[in-house]
């Protein structure tokens, strides 16, 4: 494949295929629907790739759990409202230990919200959305080429951690068309780690707390704690291998901007004035990596498409106050960022928005 225009959602799908995915189940929802459409077209030409359009997102999420247990690398794609419906299945996948990938192309919530406008308000939902304690691995790319790359990495991390891994995107990135040559992106693929069903053994895959022999352990706190820490430690260890992030822009500046996904690119005209820390692995948080650079900066400002979800997380990571520029209502623009910086007295002197290119690329 030579260089060509690729859409963010398409790149996610192509990354999944590259990673060896062979089952997609989904339900249409803006702004993720192109992934479902891509999967249906691909399945019609490649019968070994299985496709199910489900009756809802609850079915989609449970179907990819079943597909993965049956032996297929499995995935679904959705947006915030659908992701909410999937949360019970996410927790089940963590409890049972089922590798699969959920792509969440974020829009503006809550409720039906603004279905075609970009948001980043599902960040905490990817960490705490299901009931109980579990350890999420979540990636959030910010270019079309990265959508491809981290789609593959999401499947790799899912296999290694035996858990549902979330690949975040947003309405802006998902619908962005960029020139890319995906064939030049070489990511080794992790093979399947879970023995498929009907292996000849008699395993019981159960969301109920059970002992290894399948007997209920629903009142044994010690057994629960043993299993919980075992899976948590395993997933944290796997996540360490996937500590993707970027540190750049003007590292000599006084202030560090933290931005991720599409927001890091929209903020690009500010590059001369600020340093940038861009987490790609959103969860588990990059505590060590951020602490290494944060100490150098007098101030930290988090620019994000929610009312401070990640800013609060950063404050918790660093135990220090950070400034906030929330980009709400789908206003992912340098004007909105400038207004936000101005409100908190942090707009660089002499910075003016170039009206001819309000969307930064590169």
């Amino acid at each position: 494949m030579a260089k060509r225009l690729v859409q963010g959602n398409e790149a996610v799908f192509l990354g999944a295929v590259k990673a060896g995915a062979s089952f997609f189940a989904g339900y249409p929802i803006s702004p993720s629907s192109e992934i479902l459409a891509q999967a249906s077209v691909y399945a019609s030409k490649n019968p070994e790739f299985r496709f199910l359009q489900e009756e809802d997102e609850i079915a989609s999420a449970n179907a990819i759990l079943g597909g993965s247990l049956a032996g297929a690398k499995s995935f679904t794609a959705t947006s915030g409202p659908g992701f909410s419906l999937m949360q019970e299945a996410v927790g089940y996948g963590h409890k049972v230990g089922i590798p699969c990938v959920i792509v969440n192309v974020m829009r503006v919530g809550p409720g039906t919200g603004m279905p075609t406008m970009p948001g980043q308000g599902d960040l905490l939902q990817t960490r705490y959305g299901s009931t109980g304690d579990y350890t999420s691995i979540v990636f959030y790319p910010s270019t079309v080429a990265e959508c491809y790359e981290y789609s593959i990495q999401a499947f790799n991390a899912a296999e290694e951690s035996r858990s549902p891994v979330v690949l975040l995107s947003d309405a802006f990135l998902g619908h962005l068309n960029e020139v890319a040559d995906l064939d030049t992106i070489d990511v080794p693929v992790v093979p399947r780690t879970l023995e498929p069903l009907a292996s000849g053994s008699t395993r019981l895959f159960s969301g109920v707390a059970t002992y290894p022999d399948g007997e209920p352990a629903t009142a044994d706190g010690d057994e629960f704690i043993r299993q919980y820490y075992e899976s948590r430690d395993n997933r944290l260890a796997v996540a360490e291998k996937y500590n993707f992030h970027e540190y750049g822009w003007n590292k000599d500046a006084e202030t560090l901007v933290i931005a991720f996904g599409i927001t890091a690119r929209v903020a690009r005209p500010l590059a001369p004035y600020f340093a940038l820390f861009r987490p790609i692995r959103m969860w588990p948080t990059l505590d060590k990596e951020l602490a290494e650079v944060a100490g150098k900066y007098k101030k930290i400002v988090v620019i994000e498409g929610s009312d401070g979800q990640y800013a609060s997380v950063v404050e918790h990571m660093l135990l220090r106050r950070v400034e906030r520029v929330p980009l709400l209502g789908g206003r992912m623009s340098i004007e909105a960022i400038s207004e936000g910086l101005d409100r908190i007295g942090m707009l660089p002197a002499g910075f003016a928005v170039d009206k001819k290119s309000t969307v930064a690329v590169g």
């Binding site: 062979s22 089952f23 189940a25 299985r50 199910l52 489900e54 009756e55 809802d56 609850i58 079915a59 989609s60 449970n62 179907a63 990819i64 759990l65 079943g66 597909g67 247990l69 049956a70 032996g71 297929a72 499995s74 019970e88 299945a89 089940y92 498929p196 069903l197 009907a198 292996s199 000849g200 053994s201 008699t202 395993r203 019981l204 895959f205 159960s206 969301g207 109920v208 059970t210 022999d213 399948g214 007997e215 209920p216």
Partner: protein, 259 residues
Amino acid sequence: MAVKDKLKTELFPTIWCPGCGIGLIMQQLASVMDDLGLDKTNTVLITGIGCTGRMGAYMNFESVYTLHGRTLPVAEAIKLVRPELNVIVVSGDGDTASIGGNHLLHSIRRNPNVTVICNNNEIYGLTGGQAGPTTPKGTSTISSPSGAGYSPINLQGVVASNPNAFYAKTTVYHQGPMKKAIKEAIQWPGFAFVDVASQCIENNGRRIGFSSANDMLQNYRTEYKAAPAGATHLEPHQTGIVKGEPLPVAGGSGNGSKN
């Protein structure tokens, strides 16, 4: 092989209450599995939340004990990815018809080649005896002290919305017909649903006037009659099998298709 090889007898006694009907279903399912050569290399069990869901743990198969109501999305995906497997769903009426009702509607429409065995005790037993989707109108339960307010769901009608599906009604008293229904359902190419009336003495029966599980079984014996040969629709309290037009099933040998 023998029937008992299908069961993890080392885990017995089961957690089911004395007098529960579920064990009678498990026994006949194990017997059918033995007859048809179903084993842990060619068959998987998918079970849902509720007392019935524990069946997967007691059988010598790999099984998935799904979230409440989600047997069918899991089963359908497994069948799609691995068409050579026999995929058998075992669950209760609450799991299947209430919280899982939307999946039931749509799985039926897609006609996957899976078998559903529904332990229909007309009550939410595991949670103590609340009215469920199959509870007869007027039944006193702990969530309907003055009688269940609504007509029960018409499972036969729901299944019949797919003209290619298989529906059987039987009871745990009628062991021979139940075995026949389960066997034919597994052999059916396409969606097959076995609706088994089954007693819950502890959390339903005593409350509605039965003194013992045997009382409830005797009630099935006297209340249920076999439908006339060739019936295309079962009346209330009739046992029998209603078959749609079988469709050839693409790919795979599990659950009845003959590759």
